[in-house]
Assembly symmetry: D2
Homo-oligomer: 138 residues x 4
């Protein structure tokens, strides 16, 4: 995706590890789209009644990943406390969604994949938070 080139051209780059930053944005985008897709696939399954909690958490996780991706993309005059709180909330949403999707993984392949994407996004959030930890908060 070409947005990464744009992020790398920022005139005053944020003082965080570039790889961790780009990976976090990337995983947030993939996870937001995966959760939107998984909620939608759930809705079309014949056992939708058993998937209600999965739909709800996928909707939450899609929304939170979407916003975390936006906040992390912005490098101008960052507030690291805000960034940390949003990325932490994203990690919490990813775990909640992954755990629920894993319940349905044996019956629904889209849930199995969605859980994997959530776990990977959670790891990318944790890694980015770890690099914030070493920076003086502004």
């Amino acid at each position: 995706m070409r947005f990464q080139e744009i992020v790398n051209l920022h005139p005053e780059p944020i003082s965080l590890d570039r790889d961790a930053l780009l990976r976090c944005i990337n995983e947030c985008l993939d996870c937001a789209a995966s959760c939107t897709g998984c909620a939608d696939a759930d809705l079309a399954e014949s056992d939708v009644r058993t998937l209600v909690r999965c739909i709800r958490l996928c909707l939450d996780c899609a929304d939170v990943c979407d916003v975390a991706g936006r906040v992390v993309t912005r490098e101008t005059e960052p507030d690291l406390g805000l960034l940390r709180a949003v990325v932490e909330a994203c990690a919490v949403a990813c775990v909640a969604c992954a755990e629920e999707c894993e319940w349905h993984a044996a019956h629904h392949e889209h849930c199995r994949i969605c859980a994997e994407v959530c776990r990977r996004c959670k790891d990318a959030c944790d890694d980015l938070i770890a690099t914030i930890g070493h920076e003086p908060s502004r």
Copy 2:
């Protein structure tokens, strides 16, 4: 706003204080729109260069309030840990944005009002989190 009637008709209401819940959603909506408006007004000011940090934090705060409002609106099968993390991130974003807007309050009336809305949204988030604290987390 009529969305409150819909929230109050939920077949399985979330076990949180109704007033705190509705006030939090309402303040998140007002704060999201206020921050979108303040960032946009900043952009049209002749001293835009001094307002760069204000624009950036208003954009973040608008995005986070928007999502917090959505997550809190959803009452079906809630994950209270997720809800808490998102509402806490919202409170952090509101404080960061309010503090910056207050720097510009003497020169820009829209910043003065935006800061007030952010402070009120922060309080509504804190109040909702306090009622979560008394619930068993799921």
Copy 3:
């Protein structure tokens, strides 16, 4: 809601009817929150399988109203063709969602109210588009 004060303090107000503009933003916010709430209430109903299309269209309508509200709130350097396309898409989403919600209005009071909010938002979009029609497009 106080965001209206901020919108009215814009240093270079957009050349559109103020009442139509503020009403459109207001209805978009109410409709976005109402559709988020209606989709969520649907999800908790025992007849969720009959509400699948309602959930899907409520999710779409919430997303589209959310963005239309943001675009209309921004008055700096507007592109009226873009504004028109987004507000028209919002009107289309509101009608699709209202028509579906009306099918369920007799059984679910939240669907009845949601349909009314969608219709009112559609009217506010139409009214704003009508005032754009009298402006030279930029």
Copy 4:
């Protein structure tokens, strides 16, 4: 990105060309992130006052692409009129943003790339709309 696997596992796939569908979602995600990044890079440039219109249109385009990507990702019980209106609005936003970014392409590489991403997203939207044209609207 793995969300594509999830989209391809939908139990009742939408009757639109798969390649056009996936390409449209992909370009919307890239364009949303690119516009968020370009607006943010603009904000940090020393000539921010000349980039005000670019920032504003990038914010609009990011929001519209985000929602178009979500609507197109959903395959359950689609309303093709709604889908068409949203994708058309996205194409309009992409052109407006590309034209503005092109004005700044010689001075700012992030604007040059953002314009290219917008153009590519516009083409993907047009291609998806063309395949809708051949389907009976529901």
